[in-house]
């Protein structure tokens, strides 16, 4: 997804065509690369619809299951439109340091001629759109069971434009962090640091659920959560593997290390639970899987098998204790642990990539003349600047929206459940 990665993994046939017919080269899409990114686009959308939606929906109470599904569905729709109209342009048009320009409004420049590397620009824009959907959708986990639907929509649209699109531009759109040489293959900073930080801020601004922490109900459906987790795992192949923007060695290795980190993250969590409680749970294993995946994401295109193993281990352990800390000790109601799992995992991976990309760990190596410590400082700066901007902007957006509409539903509605009150539906009927 970065320009770097494209160079590293540029595939042969395009080169071949260029050598044979220089005049045609500019127009050549590679059908194999295109096939894979079309597929990856489907896979990443699948992560949100219904993957993440089910993962989260299973964790809440049954009186809020429809509202969680609706949040995901409505966000997928409204963020797609936002992306088409404005977001894509802010992220990928022009070469400002801090934000793109308005040259790509309404995706007006995309035709059946324009390319991105070896794939049609339409495919690139659609693939990126699926990232612009899932990032704000991740934040849903922080505000389930209490946030007002109108505020959910307004917040997500504003956040996409003020946080996600600029940060994407910084890192992947040729902006400031790209010039620093920040390495973020598939979104440790762009996706997970932003979503995690925003989750923490929104949890603090909204406040706790009425029954938190005394009598939080356990997940109403581990079945739904497990189905969703499985889809996230599958979809993540498209997320990380697709970020190579081609179907070659880069995508293959990214998929392999992604899979390993997921498996190990899940096992770590499972064994900790087994050790502590004597009973490993499926929700725990699924959570560990997500932790492993979030952690490997920024590094997935730069590392080898050992890197995948280490990130799975690190992500599993550290996110487990982060959940304990944030929800257990600090009693912050980031309800489905978005910061502790995605934020912490994404940040961890974004920092460790500086070392794990080294050839000593079978990685692809750093850019010339860059040391691991040097790269680490660059990564750290990237994470910090992103977290600060995200926290500030999230806070301000919420305050502004709070002037126009209630951020939370009333206590009565919260007690009765959001499903009937906000959506006129119940998740499960008797008839």
């Amino acid at each position: 997804m970065t320009i770097n990665s494209c160079h590293v993994f540029r595939r042969l046939p395009a080169v071949l065509v260029a050598m044979l017919f220089p005049s045609l080269a500019f127009a050549a899409t590679d059908s194999g690369d295109t096939a894979w990114i079309l597929t990856a686009t489907a896979l990443v959308l699948f992560m949100t619809l219904p993957g993440l939606a089910l993962f989260y929906a299973g964790l809440v109470q049954s009186k809020n299951v429809v509202s969680v599904l609706m949040h995901h569905f409505a966000l997928a729709c409204i963020l797609s439109v936002t992306w088409v109209v404005l977001g894509y342009s802010l992220a990928f048009s022009g070469d400002g340091a801090w934000v793109g320009d308005l040259g790509g409004l309404m995706m007006a420049n995309i035709t059946t001629e324009t390319l991105n590397g070896t794939i049609p620009e339409s495919v690139f824009a659609a693939f990126q759109m699926t990232f612009a959907i899932i990032t704000p959708a991740l934040i849903i986990g922080a505000y389930v069971e209490r946030m007002n639907f109108a505020a959910v929509l307004a917040f997500s649209v504003a956040w996409l434009l003020v946080v996600y699109a600029p940060v994407t531009h910084w890192v992947w759109g040729g902006g400031i962090m790209a010039s620093w040489g920040v390495m973020d293959f598939a979104g440790g900073i762009v996706v997970h640091t932003t979503a995690g930080t925003a989750a923490l801020v929104i949890a603090l601004v909204l406040g706790k659920r009425v029954n938190f922490p005394q009598s939080v109900a356990p997940p109403h459906s581990p079945v739904l959560t497990m189905i969703g987790a499985s889809m996230l795992w599958i979809g993540w192949f498209g997320f990380n593997g697709g970020s190579a923007l081609s179907a070659g060695q880069g995508a293959g290795m990214a998929l392999l290390v992604t899979h390993i980190a997921a498996a190990i993250g899940a096992l770590v969590w499972m064994f900790i639970e087994w050790f502590r409680f004597g009973r490993p749970s499926v929700v725990g294993a699924a959570t560990g899987m997500v932790a492993g995946l979030a952690t490997v994401t920024p590094a997935s295109g730069y590392i080898g098998v050992p890197g995948g193993i280490i990130l799975g281990l690190g992500g599993g352990v550290i996110c487990y204790y982060a959940v304990d800390l944030i929800r257990g000790k600090l009693k912050i109601d980031d309800s489905l642990d978005v910061f502790a799992v995605h934020g912490v995992g994404g940040i961890l991976g974004s920092l460790l990539v500086a070392f794990l990309a080294l050839e000593a760990f079978s990685g692809g190596g750093l850019a010339e003349d860059v040391t691991a410590t040097g790269q680490f400082m660059v990564q750290l700066s990237g994470v910090i600047v992103t977290a600060i901007w995200t926290a500030l902007a999230t806070f301000v957006i919420l305050k502004i929206i709070g002037m126009f509409t209630a951020l939370r539903v009333s206590k009565d509605v919260e007690v009765e459940g959001l499903d009937l009150a906000q959506h006129g539906e119940r998740g499960y009927h008797n008839t």
Binding site: P218, F277, V283, G284, T287, Y320, V323, D324
Partner: protein, 113 residues
């Protein structure tokens, strides 16, 4: 007539039902319920924490019977539902004023079997 309400363990339903059929009980009604008593609910795990569940799944039987066989029915349930572990449940006996079979309009004991 008596209206017998028995709260038993779900795993004893099949045997209890079979035992009742054997002594000639040809009708009863079953409800899934949750019980609270000396038997404590199990704990569930959720992301690094254990939650204790106040209620345990139970099954409620309701059987309307002629006074003459009430004791027999109570006894049969008791034996069949017995596992000698906490949580085996209770049997409650209420007076039943009248009964009616909707299909035939029969009343009283005739409505029961």
């Amino acid at each position: 007539m008596k209206y017998i309400i028995a709260i038993i363990k779900p795993s004893r339903l099949d045997d209890t039902h079979a035992a009742l059929t054997e002594i000639g009980i040809s009708g009863l009604t079953v409800t899934e319920v949750r019980g609270y008593g000396r038997q404590r609910g199990q704990t569930e795990i959720y992301r690094g924490a254990e939650y204790s569940i106040a209620f345990v799944p139970k099954v409620k039987l309701e059987i309307a019977v002629d006074d003459k066989i009430a004791d027999d029915v109570v006894d049969t349930i008791r034996k069949a539902a017995h596992t000698d572990k906490i949580g085996d449940g209770k049997i409650f006996i209420l007076d039943l004023k009248d009964a009616l079979r909707i299909r035939t309009n029969e009343m009283g004991v005739d409505a029961l079997n």
